[in-house]
């Protein structure tokens, strides 16, 4: 039972991380490449999940994107089933919930690089896309790594969204944190301790990776 929850949690975290990075990197690049109200507004929206209770996100996915709404019916059309009670639904919830943890380190990382390198590259004939892959991304490696680890860990620890949306289906939506909740309610404190220690171990390992790296200004 617990290994199923563990495997599911890892799958959820990995899927969320991959999808979020693919979306957040171009978005962060756009945000960091200029100024203006559009960028400021986007940043504010993406930071919202930081202060929104996860249960709110879960609730809106459950009801706001449920079969009674137009958007929800579109989702059923695309996925073949509603968002709720499915792995796909958890992924959507996790992506929203962990978005700030991807966007913020990436924007900070890209901004810290300074415009002179990209300018130099463009003066050598590199298009903006080329200079992004050749110059910006390699120089932002520490920030990218931070984003990966933070998103992964944050998703491993997710509870509120899964509680609202999951339906507690073993192997599909019963993650480690839900498992823990159940174990506590059942008075099974031994198992609960095991699960909790497992979650803590993840957190510690991940943070060690992030903080043990040399500071990003290694090239200065």
């Amino acid at each position: 039972m617990e290994s199923q929850a563990l495997w599911l949690t890892l799958r959820l975290a990995a899927t969320t991380t991959i999808i979020l990075l693919a979306v957040a990197i171009p978005l962060a690049w756009w945000i960091s490449s200029g100024r203006g109200p559009a960028r400021a507004f986007t940043q504010a929206i993406l930071a919202l999940p930081l202060v929104l209770p996860p249960t709110v996100i879960g609730f809106y996915l459950l009801v706001g994107l449920g079969p009674l709404t137009f958007a929800g019916r579109a989702i059923i059309h695309i996925l073949g089933h509603p968002l709720a009670f499915s792995f796909a639904g958890l992924v959507v919830g996790s992506v929203l919930y962990s978005a700030p943890f991807a966007i913020m380190p990436l924007v900070a990382g890209f901004q810290a690089i300074g415009p002179e390198y990209v300018e130099a590259a463009s003066l050598l004939g590199a298009s903006p896309v080329r200079s992004f892959f050749d110059i910006t991304l390699p120089l932002a490696k520490p920030a990218v790594l931070s984003a990966i680890v933070l998103v992964f860990l944050h998703t491993v620890g997710e509870f509120g969204v899964v509680l609202m949306l999951g339906g507690n289906i073993p192997g599909v939506t019963q993650t480690l944190s839900i498992s823990l909740f159940d174990q506590v309610q059942d008075g099974n404190y031994t198992a609960a301790n095991h699960t909790a220690l497992l979650l803590i171990a993840f957190a510690v390992a991940g943070l060690a990776i992030v903080y043990a790296r040399r500071p990003w200004r290694q090239f200065a």
């Binding site: 300074g114 903006p128 090239f219």
Partner: protein, 258 residues
């Protein structure tokens, strides 16, 4: 002076009007000599002009165009910037090259990789250029950095970095307008003079016009450039060095004779 109609000529026509903070620029000039020097004291806006020509900044109003006359082909014009017509070609699409004042060498690449970045031969074949490639070798020798290829930018001195930046820029394409923003500061004068002579020869061979921005008259004379003298954001005088800079040259000689 080249004989019009028989020689292949290229020229750049530049007109910039820009006000930003304390800067008030209103310049028009033509670059048709092999070496042109833009001469003005520090803070006069020379760097801004170069950045505008390169496309990194956009002026309040201006027009920058490139004209070529290579018979038997018909004359050609490429407009990089025309604010009134809303034309603004992005920097990477302009056939100009700029060596900035504080060169931004890519910190994660070795000196060799920096120089190789965007080298045309490399791009077209997609292969690693052998470091014994003759063109690459001649560029490394010209800039006197052959012994530095294995190092990382953080290990270089200021003067070395400037030479690497120069090598990187000329490696990325010849026959384009090469703009140098005070590139020889920090170089001792013997090295500087040799470098200028070799660079002159290189540019003549490859047909690369040069716009040199400097406040050092030694460099201007070493390059025997046409001079555009800037005062208060306007072109005050233009012509050969020994005419436009006669006063400075004389006072320099007087100082040296003391």
């Amino acid at each position: 002076m080249p004989n019009p109609g028989t020689e292949r000529t290229t020229r750049h026509e530049i007109a910039i009007r820009h006000i930003a903070g304390p800067l008030d620029l209103d310049v028009q000039f033509t670059l048709d000599a092999p070496w042109t020097a833009l001469f003005a004291p520090s803070g006069a806006g020379k760097t801004t002009i170069l950045r505008i020509i390169a496309g990194l900044d956009c002026p309040n109003s201006g027009r920058i165009s490139f004209h070529s006359n290579r018979p038997p082909e018909p004359p050609r014009q490429v407009v990089y910037l025309d604010t009134s017509a809303h034309i603004n070609v992005q920097p990477h699409r302009r056939a100009v090259r700029l060596v900035a004042q504080r060169p931004a060498l890519f910190p994660h690449l070795s000196v060799l990789k920096n120089v190789l970045y965007r080298m045309p031969a490399l791009i077209s074949t997609g292969e690693e250029l052998h470091s014994h490639d003759p063109q690459l070798e001649s560029i490394l020798q010209l800039c006197r950095i052959t012994h530095l290829t294995g190092k990382m930018p953080s290990q270089l001195s200021g003067g070395e970095r400037q030479r690497v930046a120069l090598a990187r820029t000329i490696a990325s394409g010849t026959g384009r307008l090469l703009m140098l923003d005070e590139p020889f500061t920090g170089l001792e004068s013997n090295l500087r003079d040799d470098l200028i002579q070799d660079l002159k020869a290189w540019c003549q061979r490859t047909g690369t016009p040069v716009l040199l921005v400097t406040h050092d008259i030694g460099e201007v004379f070493a390059a025997s450039a046409q001079v555009l003298r800037m005062e208060s954001g306007r072109i005050a005088a233009s012509g050969p060095a020994n005419e436009v800079l006669a006063e400075e040259r004389d006072s320099l000689i007087r100082r040296l004779q003391r």
